[in-house]
């Protein structure tokens, strides 16, 4: 099995001319961050249009948290640059933080505070705070304001963290693994609340996740991060539509050469009789001997992460 890295520039341009071009909410250009000798993130380039709900997908340790921390100014880049709403996060932190919400991994909250006290804290710390956004949301979810945060379930704590972030009325909301620790039901509830907020407040969202389930229905932009690099970035539907699984009689390297000239092979596997590929089509497929199958977000993501999809075992 080979693993090909796709140049992302072409793809970003193809995405940009979609509908009327909205300004970009997040732009990264050659962005890199180094811890000692190790690059946690390198040559990261993408432009995420405003109004998108983007998924930042990749295995643990791929650099997702590093990228998010660079976006809110918690880290300073060692290479390249990132801008959020036109601001450089590390240099213009104050101006940016008034417009950006960030929920760190495991949604850290003061466990001894009641929910009401937590909201008071948020009100005192944020200039554009709107209490009713948080209180109405929490009332709808039947989360009591007089309860201590530490006594709430994991799902409820996540909802409190989200309500806090939404009440500051951010234009961009960044979430680091918001659903990783939640059970499937709480995960769906959390994403539902997030999507309702997108309807009401019309913000740009970037959420990282190593769980691909549920992202397809929630996100319309995708960034795949693996081995500290961006493997793929662009409009979710267009990316899924341009990737296909091709199954056909066994080919060797030389007979695959014509295919490679136009298309990009992301993943290939061979048996003595059969060849199966996951390709990114860059034009019409001329060879009719391939059986062409649609792929799911999971198939595509796993191919870029270089792992065989789990579902494959059952087929």
């Amino acid at each position: 099995m080979s693993h090909t890295i796709t140049p992302i520039n072409a793809n970003i341009r193809s995405v940009a001319h979609g509908e009327s071009e909205p300004p970009n909410a997040i732009e990264a250009r050659g962005l890199g961050k180094r811890y000692g000798k190790r690059w946690a993130l390198s040559e990261c380039t993408f432009s995420m249009p405003a109004g998108k709900v983007a998924a930042l997908v990749g295995p643990n340790g791929a650099g997702k948290t590093t990228l998010l921390h660079l976006c809110v100014g918690l880290l300073r880049p060692d290479a390249g640059a990132v801008t959020v709403l036109g601001y450089a996060p590390a240099a213009q932190t104050k101006a940016l933080l008034a417009r950006v919400g960030f929920i760190a991994q495991d949604h850290p909250l003061y466990k001894d505070f009641t929910v009401a006290e937590t909201l008071t804290l948020g009100r005192k710390l944020n200039p554009h705070w709107e209490d009713t956004i948080a209180t109405e949301r929490l009332a709808r979810l039947h989360i009591p304001l007089d309860q201590r945060v530490g006594k709430l379930s994991g799902g409820q704590q996540a909802q409190v963290a989200l309500a806090l972030a939404l009440a500051k009325r951010p234009q961009v909301l960044l979430l680091d693994e918001p659903v990783a620790s939640l059970d499937p039901l709480a995960r769906r509830d959390f994403l539902r609340t997030l999507m309702e907020a997108v309807v009401e407040q019309g913000m740009t969202v970037l959420l990282s996740s190593h769980i691909v389930a549920d992202l397809e229905r929630v996100c319309d932009y995708l960034i795949i991060l693996a081995a500290s690099r961006v493997q793929l970035a662009g409009d979710m539907e267009m990316l899924i539509a341009s990737h296909k699984r091709l199954v056909g009689p066994r080919r060797d390297a030389s007979s695959l050469a014509p295919l490679r000239r136009t298309h990009t092979i992301i993943e290939e596997s061979h048996t003595p009789r059969q060849t199966s590929l996951l390709v990114r089509l860059n034009g019409p497929l001329l060879d009719p001997t391939w059986e062409v199958q649609d792929v799911t977000l999971e198939d595509m993501t796993l191919a870029y992460l270089g792992q065989p999809p789990e579902s494959e075992a059952g087929k």
Partner: protein, 136 residues
Amino acid sequence: MIDFHLDTHTGAPPYVQIAQQVRQALRLGMLRVGDQLPTVREVVEKLAINPNTVLKAYRELEHEGVVASRPGQGTFVLRSLAGEGLASHAMLRRSLTQWLRSAYDAGLDEESVLALFQTTFHQAPREQRTGEEDTA
């Protein structure tokens, strides 16, 4: 009012599935002219999906002239699809039943029949699918 559901295991994008379900409801008469489609908010609440997906589906239906959106009010059905091709259903079903019988006579099992249908369906370009009639 109709309810949408999403099948995330097919390759069909969510917006395509929603548009299909509206058309299907129209064909089956579950939606009629003048009916209101669920609001974006209602669909988002029900399915926990991206609101842009719902908007995209509704925009596609609007392009097709099936629905119209009235600002501040919602999206309403403009024309019905019921009856479209309904008359030929019985005949098509008969010839499909015949085809199935000959497939089973030829020794194909259910899985092979489905595989054959699916590969033929996917391989025949849409232009070819309309037009010529296959009498096999």
